[in-house]
């Protein structure tokens, strides 16, 4: 299924593989008892969650309850924050994410991330995709060009930008920039995509385009999306989890299939939140 995983060092580059279709519940990321501290302050505690392969899992909850922190701990982006400390266990397809000797560069290539605010590099559209590809070992010009084209087609940007690949990425509209960022993550053919409110900085129209794009990723990538937009979560998610602040720190209140969370929540807090009575 993933030949590349067995020969990571000899083959720095591997093509996008067909992934199994969604909703064969097979945990790809298993998080156990995960706690995160900023200095002395506990950001979230004891999160235990299994994220299924090829599915879209949405994390919902009010601001400041640790959803984004949780997301960034999965690709160890929290390492960049001074004084930030993790405890617990994260396993990604058998790989111990929190082990000291985990190769960050390989981990982050397998786990792509999209941020709330579109953040293309101040380079041309082409260079935005070419630069990370080159850094990960793809140097052949023809393959670069075709990978870039595929990446841009995947996010529906190719027809909009094919005539101006060398113009600055920052001149694109917000929605286009966000799709470019998604393409930038996709061309590295990751297994997992972490999305931190990818639509919240966009206008409704662009937001809709990006949302359709995310739905199209189902089955090929394991998507974990943080969103404040409950309607969106309801539309796109296969699984959902609710974060809430309890006793001064974030906590995963309930997780399950989207249908269960939105229609038959077990916890009263979840019921109140998804019905719009709280939060």
């Amino acid at each position: 299924m993933k030949p590349s995983m067995s020969t990571p060092d000899t083959q720095p580059w591997f093509p996008l593989e067909e992934r199994p279709i969604c909703c064969v519940p097979k945990p790809f990321i298993e998080v156990e008892q995960l706690c995160l501290y900023y200095g002395q302050k506990l950001a979230f505690r004891d999160v235990t969650l299994a994220i299924n392969q090829g599915c879209i899992t949405a994390l919902v909850g009010p601001s400041g309850c640790g959803k984004t922190s949780f997301l960034s701990s999965l690709n160890r982006l929290t390492d960049l924050i001074p004084g930030c400390r993790l405890s617990g266990r994260i396993r990604l397809d058998g790989l111990d994410v929190m082990a000291l000797d985990t190769d960050m560069i390989r981990l982050r290539r397998r786990v792509g991330m999209i941020f709330q605010k579109p953040n293309p590099f101040p380079l041309s559209i082409r260079k935005n995709l070419e630069f990370p590809l080159r850094e990960h070992g793809l140097r052949d010009r023809k393959r670069l060009a075709s990978t870039i084209e595929t990446g841009l087609r995947d996010v529906g940007l190719w027809d909009e930008v094919k005539d101006r690949l060398d113009s600055p990425a920052l001149a694109l509209s917000g929605g286009q920039q966000q799709r470019l960022c998604i393409a930038r993550a996709l061309v590295l053919s990751p297994d997992v995509l972490l999305m931190d409110e990818p639509c919240s900085a966009l206008d409704p129209l662009s937001s809709g385009v990006v949302e359709d794009l995310i739905v199209g990723l189902r089955g090929r990538y394991t998507v974990l999306i943080v969103t404040h937009n409950l309607a969106q979560a309801r539309r796109i998610a296969d699984y959902a989890g609710l974060f809430w602040v309890q006793q001064g720190a974030g906590q995963l209140i309930e997780a399950g299939t989207a249908k269960q969370i939105f229609e038959k929540p077990r916890e009263s807090l979840t019921a109140a939140y998804v019905s719009g009575m709280r939060g």
């Binding site: 960049l80 560069i105 953040n119 041309s124």
Partner: protein, 287 residues
């Protein structure tokens, strides 16, 4: 109708804007007066011969050819040494030291103190260390190195600011794409921090070109054409100082030399901002 829409200015606002405008006018007028004075007295003496010929009769006659060469050499030594060290230190301070650490605080504090130290102190230090301890004597090399010490604090601090002005987003998104720190630094942060470096360079070059006191003790007074970096050489600002203070009848050439100094400073400033606006912008966009 239009009048009714105009904002009512109260007395305090009028006072504030008058104060701001007169302060701005005062500064601009001082600069214009200075420039006008130099142009008025200096322009008539300026010629190709003046720029290339060696000085004669203690500078009353002849030109400033060797002095321009010495100045350029001193400046090259100064920048050749200070830019690499400055960028390196700025990278260390901005990217590899967290804000609160003792090391970072101490380094920044020392740099701030150093940038306020009078140049004569740097001159004495340069004389003691480069000329005597290292045995470089009165030479262009000693002068350039002393100026490098003087310029470094300004260069480091403004380059550091340049790095800090780069949005944290770039670092995060680069890390999330699995790019190494070195790659991120070289391909993303450095180009984005160049405007800060250029500001530091402009300030630093300005300070170095205008420097007199530190050079009296280090690069010396000799107005012959230098043959190597170990020769003594007279800097332009020192020449102006000498002509106007020690040489009677040297005023005319002092004015002409001052004009050359001002024009070259303005040229350097202009080039730096042009670089920042055009060339770098294109480069950053299309690496």
């Amino acid at each position: 109708m239009v009048k009714a829409l105009e904002p009512q200015r109260d007395g305090r606002e009028w006072l504030a804007s008058t104060f701001v405008w007169s302060a701005a006018a005062l500064v601009t007028a001082t600069f214009c007066w200075l420039l006008g004075d130099i142009l008025w007295h200096g322009l008539s003496h300026l010629s190709w011969t003046f720029l290339t010929a060696p000085p004669q009769n203690a500078g009353r006659e002849g030109g400033i050819g060797p002095i321009l060469v010495s100045t350029a050499l001193i400046l090259s030594v100064c920048l050749g040494v200070s830019v690499p060290i400055g960028v390196g230190t700025a990278v260390l301070l901005a990217e590899f030291t967290t804000d609160g650490t003792l090391f970072g605080r101490l380094t920044r504090r020392s740099l701030d103190v150093l940038s306020g130290v009078p140049s004569i102190v740097f001159g004495l230090f340069g004389n003691a260390f480069f000329c005597q301890t290292l045995g470089l004597g009165f030479s262009i090399l000693s002068g350039g190195l002393t100026l490098a010490c003087m310029v470094l604090p300004i260069l480091i601090r403004s380059t550091e600011e340049g790095f800090r002005a780069v949005p944290a987003d770039y670092r995060l998104s680069a890390a999330a794409l699995g790019l190494s720190r070195t790659t991120t630094l070289v391909h993303l942060l450095l180009p984005a921090a160049v405007p800060g470096l250029l500001v530091g360079l402009v300030l630093g070059v300005g300070r170095a070109m205008a420097e007199t006191a530190a050079l009296i003790f280090t690069s010396g007074y000799v107005d012959r054409m230098p043959e190597s970096l170990l020769d003594s050489g007279r800097a332009l600002s020192l020449h102006i100082f000498d002509l106007s203070m020690n040489v009677s009848g040297g005023d005319a050439h002092a004015y002409a030399s001052a004009l050359v100094l001002v024009v070259s400073l303005l040229t350097i400033n202009g080039t730096a901002s042009w670089l920042a606006d055009h060339w770098l912008h294109r480069r950053i966009v299309t690496i």
